[in-house]
């Protein structure tokens, strides 16, 4: 019996998940559901973060995960960061803008990154857009 190949339109998102350590205030932010990527560029990126987690001028270490499997089980930031299966990027908060009582938008100037990872991350963002556009076009043309 050869079954037809069906693709189900699921609600699954492909996105990265992030947590960070604020090395200036010595605070950790593991509320990954409240951290969102808005914009990425070669030398800076912008996130939405919980409002009390950081301030302008602070230095943060951002941990980027491909999925949330490890984060779901994380109760607190581990002392040994090598146990986190993720990529790391570090930067200084150059700008902070309050969005509402719970969220702030922060722009981070990158101070330290693995070039290969960051370049491929930016490429992935663009590839993701291309994939979405391709699906979109299929319905229109």
């Amino acid at each position: 019996m050869t079954l037809k190949k069906i693709t189900l339109a699921t609600k699954k998102l492909s996105k990265s998940y992030m947590i960070f350590t604020n090395s200036t205030s010595q605070q950790d932010c593991i509320e990954y559901r409240d951290i969102k990527f808005i914009y990425a560029d070669e030398m800076e990126f912008t996130l939405l973060v919980p409002i009390k987690s950081c301030a302008e001028g602070h230095h943060i270490n951002l941990y980027i995960f491909d999925d949330n499997k490890q984060l779901k089980k994380l109760k607190k930031m581990p002392n040994d960061k090598s146990t986190l299966k993720c990529h790391v990027i570090n930067g200084n908060i150059s700008h902070l803008e309050k969005i509402d009582d719970e969220l702030a938008e922060v722009t981070i100037q990158i101070t330290d990154k693995v070039n290969e990872f960051w370049d491929s991350y930016i490429s992935k963002i663009e590839e993701r857009q291309d994939k979405v556009s391709e699906i979109f076009e299929r319905y229109r043309t």
Partner: protein, 447 residues
């Protein structure tokens, strides 16, 4: 981009106005910078933080293009889209761009079927934002005569159908494959409920472009309304081959596959479902419903229609019905449907298993309590079953099925006519429209 294209963009953008509905500075800055690079003056760009502000600006300035974040603090972007379509019905001079982090197939396919021009994913880069915007505006800077007629037809479709038809008549002659023009013609016929004419238009559209989703979907819907299951099936096959299947469509698609005895389609949905890592609850419920439809049909064929049913097919039907009860997340009616179907087959073991699952999932649900009575009716002696049903009724579980059990068992036990009449009165008092059904139960039990 060549010089000619740049010139066309510059010309097109002259006097166009823009509104960005975006609460983040990064979003606003990126949109502003991108638009300025595309030869738009700063004075032609407005910003709003939320829907309320956006609607105020729209009322005053009627912007040609809107960029909006999908998530807005005070409502849904669809309100803005609807207003924009009213304000700017000619979409060659206007556009609506949605920014969202949701790249799921479900979300993208739904947005693609709407009037939105494009979907920009968050996070974005300067490149991704600009390239998507250019994809939207480039065709509009130098549209063909065919495109202009299509947009004019679309513009007039809502309020001046005759004019819309005139534009389409001209459009048909201007393109070798005018599938969009026939699609629009079909939509106009649908609006005036002329199904046959709409059907003909969509069929013509598909002759020029057999995989055009809009026409496939509308034609499928028409065949379903007209209960032409074979034609509906043919169309649905093309849809499911080429496009992701939206979960909401699974019940209709399953119904049509089963009605055409294409049982393996249901297994295809199930196989695709099993490959998913974390399916959402809605999808689970829809797949469970499709497996239920599958099982019900085979059982009906075997036990009610007395048709020849392959024993392997029956075995698979039972397996899929069990699977449905395992997958179903939060729809008690799926369980009710499974048990009602299994009652006919007298597969009491499976009925029991499914009931136990239902009881675990929905311990206080009224429908499940009714199912308990139904399952008991299959397993208990008539007098015991009658007592269970009567107790259930006294406890407030008033359902047609319970009355049917009481009537059937009362007749079988040879209870006095007065008792049967009282039970009948009670049943018809609660469910007056089912009087003939209850009378049928009594006469079936007497014979």
């Amino acid at each position: 981009m060549d010089a000619k294209a740049q010139q066309l963009i510059k010309q097109y953008m002259k006097n166009k106005t823009f509104l960005a509905v975006e609460s983040t500075v990064a979003g606003k800055t990126a949109i502003e910078q991108m638009l300025k690079k595309t030869a738009i003056a700063r004075k032609n760009i407005q910003f709003a933080k939320n829907i309320e502000m956006a609607l105020e600006i729209m009322k005053e300035l009627k912007p040609n293009y809107i960029f909006t974040n999908e998530k807005l603090e005070d409502g849904n972007y669809k309100e803005l889209l609807e207003e924009h379509l009213k304000q700017q019905p000619n979409r060659l001079e206007a556009g609506f761009i949605l920014l969202s982090e949701n790249d799921s197939l479900d979300a993208v396919s739904k947005v693609a079927q709407s009037e939105i021009d494009c979907l920009v994913m968050l996070p974005f880069t300067v490149t991704s934002l600009q390239s998507e915007f250019l994809k939207v505006i480039l065709p509009k800077t130098d549209p063909s005569d065919y495109m202009k007629l299509l947009e004019s037809a679309r513009e007039h479709m809502r309020f001046d159908v005759d004019k819309a038809f005139d534009f389409l008549k001209k459009a048909f002659k201007l393109d070798k494959k005018p599938y969009e023009a026939y699609y629009l013609e079909g939509l106009i016929h649908l609006k005036s409920k002329s199904l046959e004419q709409a059907k003909s238009s969509f069929e013509r559209s598909l002759k020029f472009h057999p995989k055009f989703y809009g026409s496939l979907k509308e034609l499928f819907n028409i065949h379903m309304i007209q209960k032409d299951r074979h034609k509906a099936y043919n169309v649905s096959s093309k849809m499911t081959e080429e496009f992701p299947v939206n979960p909401e469509m699974i019940p209709d698609l399953s119904w049509v596959s089963v009605a055409c005895a294409k049982y393996d389609d249901i297994l295809s949905y199930h196989t695709a479902f099993k490959d998913l890592e974390e399916p959402d609850n809605d999808l689970k419920n829809y797949i469970a419903a499709s497996l239920t439809v599958y099982g019900k049909k085979i059982i009906k064929d075997k036990f009610e229609e007395n048709a020849e049913v392959d024993p392997d097919l029956l075995k698979r039907a039972y397996k899929m019905m069990e699977e449905a009860s395992i997958i179903c997340e939060d729809k008690p009616l799926v369980f009710a449907s499974l048990i009602q179907a299994l009652k006919v087959s007298q597969n009491t073991e499976l009925m029991d298993n499914i009931l136990k699952r239902a009881q675990n999932k929905f311990p206080k649900n009224k429908n499940i309590k009714v199912l308990e009575v139904i399952v008991n009716d299959e397993q208990l002696k008539p007098a015991e079953s009658l007592k269970v049903a009567q107790d259930a009724l006294k406890s407030g579980l008033d359902s047609p099925e319970i009355h049917e059990i009481i009537l059937k068992r009362a007749v079988e036990l040879g209870l006095p006519d007065r008792v049967i009449e009282d039970s009948m009165d009670q049943a018809t008092k609660s469910f007056p429209k089912l009087k003939s059904i209850f009378e049928g139960v009594i006469s079936a039990a007497k014979s």
